[in-house]
């Protein structure tokens, strides 16, 4: 226990008496963690944007005005039997007419033409949402049967197929580029941190030799460096958390404009804080400890 307390004392002495190098190491660690968090946030936002766009996509079935309720019900049940279907929203003829009137409330000519017709010219409309955009094709194809031809006047999905395909291509490309960038960044960060710690320990090569000569065992020499690595990890992580939440406070109002569903990065970070910063803490700790042990390996052979 006494030995351990002394190792902690040496570690804090090393940090304090080498404050320039300590500051630089923590600064580089914070920069690395911030970059990781930026990439992470971009990934989360991209995912959220894709979900938002996907949420806007739906397929509409426009029924003929004289389609029977039984016929419409039968189609609704048939569509509902597909596991890919998430939601079916049926608008009656009257709802469609009301919504049309509202939409064209300022267009007198359109409203006059509607009056001329006398009767409600609209049929019911069925709005379908699937789990994935690719599922729309399957549903639409399933409805292309002669039994339903006389009930369905038109389907609105056809035009969106290209857009969905494009969206999926963009999404998967962003994911691939994001993964590649993250991987590249982790490698670069690893090399920077590893070299910073290696240079720091090699500059103390002579001191390590002296400690060995006066009878210090390996753990008395290694211990302070490992504690220093731990302190660097805690400090850099605490600073990163502070900077991240400070930045999110100013970013969230802008995000609320882009994501009307109320998505907030602050809430995302708060609800995933253990996973997000826990994994970063473990990675940084492993990186600093591994770098320290590797850099010391040679010196300890004296």
């Amino acid at each position: 226990m006494l030995g351990f307390l002394r190792i902690i004392k040496y570690a804090f002495q090393d940090i304090g008496r080498n404050i320039g190098l300590s500051f630089m190491t923590v600064f580089i660690l914070v920069l690395m963690l911030l970059s990781v968090n930026v990439l992470w946030a971009v990934d989360v936002l991209t995912g959220e944007a894709v979900i938002a766009v996907k949420g806007q996509i739906n397929a509409s079935l426009y029924f003929v005005p004289d389609a029977t309720d039984e016929g419409i019900k039968e189609i609704e049940e048939y569509i509902d039997s597909f596991p890919e279907v998430l939601e079916i929203n049926l608008q009656s003829r009257e709802d469609v007419l009301e919504s049309f009137k509202k939409r064209h409330a300022n267009n007198v000519e359109v409203l006059d033409a509607l009056k001329e017709l006398g009767d409600n010219p609209f049929g019911s409309t069925m709005i379908i949402k699937t789990r994935e955009p690719k599922d729309y094709g399957k549903i639409i194809t399933a409805l292309d049967v002669p039994e339903y031809d006389y009930l369905i006047e038109s389907k609105s999905f056809e035009g969106q197929e290209g857009a969905i395909e494009k969206l999926q291509n963009i999404t998967s490309r962003i994911e691939r580029v994001g993964f590649g960038l993250s991987f590249l960044f982790v490698i670069i960060s690893f090399l920077i941190i590893f070299n910073t710690i290696r240079v720091s320990i090699q500059s103390q090569r002579q001191e390590i030799g002296i400690k060995r000569l006066v009878g210090a065992n390996n753990w008395f020499i290694r211990g302070p460096y490992l504690i220093v690595a731990f302190v660097y990890t805690v400090l850099s992580l605490a600073l990163t958390i502070g900077v991240v939440f400070f930045a999110l406070k100013y970013l969230d109002p802008y995000l609320s404009v882009v994501f009307p569903n109320g998505f907030s990065l602050t809430n995302y970070y708060k609800s995933n804080i253990m996973m997000l910063f826990g994994s970063q803490a473990i990675s940084i700790l492993l990186l600093t400890v591994f770098s320290s042990l590797l850099a010391m390996r040679k010196q300890l052979k004296i």
């Binding site: 002394r6 080498n18 000569l213 009878g215 210090a216 065992n217």
Partner: protein
């Protein structure tokens, strides 16, 4: 106390730093080991503190074979042998007091005892008032005295001094040699590795002369003859 039997140290170059060295040093002796640069003095000092391993032969200290001492046991050997060097080998980011107490802290001594011993040895070497200074704030002679204080804290039976006056002026050299003589008077075996003719001649103690890795002379109350 110290017994070397057929010791050779051959480096991969291949260069024989020591060749078939046989030596016996009794407890309480003051021995000067002299020789020109490259004669094997430093290699011999390194073998005695297990900083190097012999290629052949056997080294015994206090009856224990240390020739192939395991790395786990080396710290224990080094805590029993005081060592001082030409370049002082002080920890630059520790104060005088911390440099000296470090040797006791690594051995697990309690704080109160460490303070008592360190204060005492710093007084002995005349640095009681400079315990808060860093090595860079001291003269060469003072730095060497810190190194001596550090080597004394364990109350070693053997003191190995490898060119301890190499970086010092005449006055400081005399002071350091006087301290070594005092240490010897208290019963510690002193091995002084040097090529300083004046010191050796003035000491009038046993002199072992090394040349090209071999002992060519071993004289009681000898002189520097190279």
């Amino acid at each position: 106390m110290i017994k070397l039997s057929g010791i050779s140290k051959i480096y991969p170059t291949p260069l024989a730093a020591l060749r078939d060295v046989n030596l016996h040093i009794n407890s309480g002796e003051f021995v000067s080991i002299i020789g020109q640069s490259g004669s094997g003095k430093t290699t011999l000092a390194k073998l005695l503190i297990a900083e190097e391993k012999a290629t052949k032969g056997k080294i015994e200290i206090g009856g224990n074979d240390i020739t192939f001492l395991g790395s786990n046991n080396i710290p224990y050997l080094r805590r029993q042998i005081g060592t001082i060097f030409q370049d002082f080998k002080l920890l630059s980011r520790k104060t005088v007091h911390e440099n000296v107490s470090f040797a006791l802290e690594v051995a697990g001594k309690p704080n109160r005892r460490i303070k008592k011993i360190v204060d005492e040895v710093l007084e002995i070497v005349g640095l009681g008032t400079k315990h808060k200074s860093y090595p860079r704030q001291l003269s060469g002679g003072e730095q060497q005295r810190v190194a001596i204080a550090r080597s004394l804290v364990h109350g070693p039976k053997i003191m190995i001094a490898d060119e301890p006056t190499g970086n010092l002026d005449t006055i400081n050299t005399e002071e350091i040699i006087d301290i070594l003589k005092k240490i010897n008077e208290y019963g510690t075996t002193v091995l002084l590795f040097t090529h300083n003719r004046e010191i050796v001649n003035r000491l009038k103690k046993r002199v072992i002369t090394l040349d090209e890795g071999q002992i060519i002379l071993d004289v009681e109350q000898g002189k520097y003859v190279l």
